[in-house]
Amino acid sequence: MASTPSIRQFTACIRCVRQIPTANGRRRLLSTSAVAREELQTQAANATPPAPPSNPPEGAAQNASAHQVPEYMQKWGTLDPQMVENKKQERRLLRREHVQPVGSRRRRAALRRSALQKAVEVPFEQLPYQCFQEARKFLLEDRQEKIKEIETQQLRIKNLMEQDPQLSGGLAAKETRLRSMRKHLNKLIILADINDPVVKRKFEDGQGDMNKPIYRYLADQKWRKYKRLVLDQRITQMSVIPDLLPSLDLTADIDLGFGRKEVAPGDFVDSAISEKMPRLNVQTFTPGEKLVTVVVVDADVPVPEKDSFTYRCHLIASNISISPTQTSIPLQRIAHEDQKAVDPAAKKIALPWIAPWAHKGAPYHRLAIFVFEQNEGRMLDVVKLGKTKRSVFNLRSFADSNKLSAITATLFRTKWDDSMAGVMERAGLKNRINVEFKRKKVEPLPYKRRTERMR
């Protein structure tokens, strides 16, 4: 039906369509509404005024020269995905450039017309709509008020800090009062910018500066609306939280991946893929740099003698600094840098990665990844951490003894698969490859036995 627009506008094989690099290449962490294609439009529309159709766009020209284009196709002339206007041109664009046209036909036509007439593009804030301009005026007034309030609040805080604690009712009362005043100040700072459409647009495009409180706030809100809920659910449903740590309030966004492969929290990961160290992306929403410790724990190591399970530590990496703008924790690269480091105390990986493994027939293993914030940004002694025993690893006592507080966690799962034998061989566990777990045959209780009567 016409009311449900599909992503594929034209009948074309998906593989034939080249993905536009700008839409696919950069990862968009924080966008909300804008689809990738939409972003491409706005970038093109904002950054450079659309080129007149007489001179060919760069991408098309490069592409045409890269592949041998047949003679009859070259006659079609230049086809710009931003400006193709009719069905014929669109089909030709797909056939020759393997690119979907951008946006609606109406939009493309408008762009083409404005390019032909060399119309000057009006900036978003100056768009001549009366209601919009009135709204902007009102919002700007409010912003000025908020800024004035911020200034007075800062002055008040300064005055209170200089005040004698005896006058303000004791040191504790003064501290409480200061805390609440700072909280109010932070709220005002957010409120000053939250109604700005430019801020919203920048945030949706993923161009927000995470050093600024408003973008951190927006990112946090967005994370809490969906991603955090999913992560929280996975962690609690698979009992990582009461099993490994008593409780955890997630305060930072975390993305897990192996090489190029993204792993959703709780996914089963092929053993060949998880042989290498994962890479993490930890987005904090509080200002300032933090030193963090990453711990990977297997929560389901079977103990056949006792018919139970225990824990095993797979990795400890310490003293990694992250901040709202510096989110990546590439463990692989950190390990490379560690190999170059001479001083053992300057290393970051205390316990090197061992590939997770699971025996045949055993239930899946949960591999929990915890990110701990180090107490007051103090460095931990990596040499001492390196002496931690891997087997029967207790995460609670580890966190307690090193004064670590967890900020976020995620997990992936492993079970026996085809490549597991090779992984175990390379990990030096050749003698355990053939171990197979089987369920115990449970004799039914006498009254549950199937008898003649039941048949």
């Binding site: 009311s3 939409e38 939009r107 709509y129 709204a135 459409p197």
Partner: protein, 193 residues
Amino acid sequence: MNLSTFRPIFRPYKKPPTTPKPRQPIRPAQQTPQHHPFSSTTRLQKRSKKSSGTDPRITNIRYHLSHPLTPRPLHFSRTRSLRHWTIHRAWLLFLRKRRAAEERELERQYMSMRSACEHLRLMDGNGNRVTEEEGGGQGPDPARLGAKGREVGRLYRSAMLKRGVWGSVPVEYGRLVTDFPAREGWNYAWSAR
């Protein structure tokens, strides 16, 4: 009332009721009466020779036959939706500010009434201010007299009278009917520890 505004523009032509003409003998040629034509096309339309080929009724029928029940979804472009959002936020902010202003106004009025009552309470017969001990009670027991007796806060006590608030019904009846009503309506002195 003139209903001509509600009448559709194109409608079957109907002659206004006139006085019935004297009957004429029916001739075979005039079997079908002329003022009730078989065609439903209005005369005005029929008279105009330059028929453009688009009958508005047909257009209307075709429109309603082919039109889906659900309207087309509202799609905004990026900038349009941002403009919409801006206006919406400004409107919400306006509402919020207006509400806050109303509340502040109410609070101001209440406080000024309160201070006026307080003045009356601590005023003796000569219009002089007395101290708190000399003044009468306030809040739950406005009738209590102070150390200086009836002269202090006379106006206050009469203002606090609830007589005639609900007409002839005493205001004390303005509570739920219960089997065991409390002697005082509300225990103001009660506090959780």
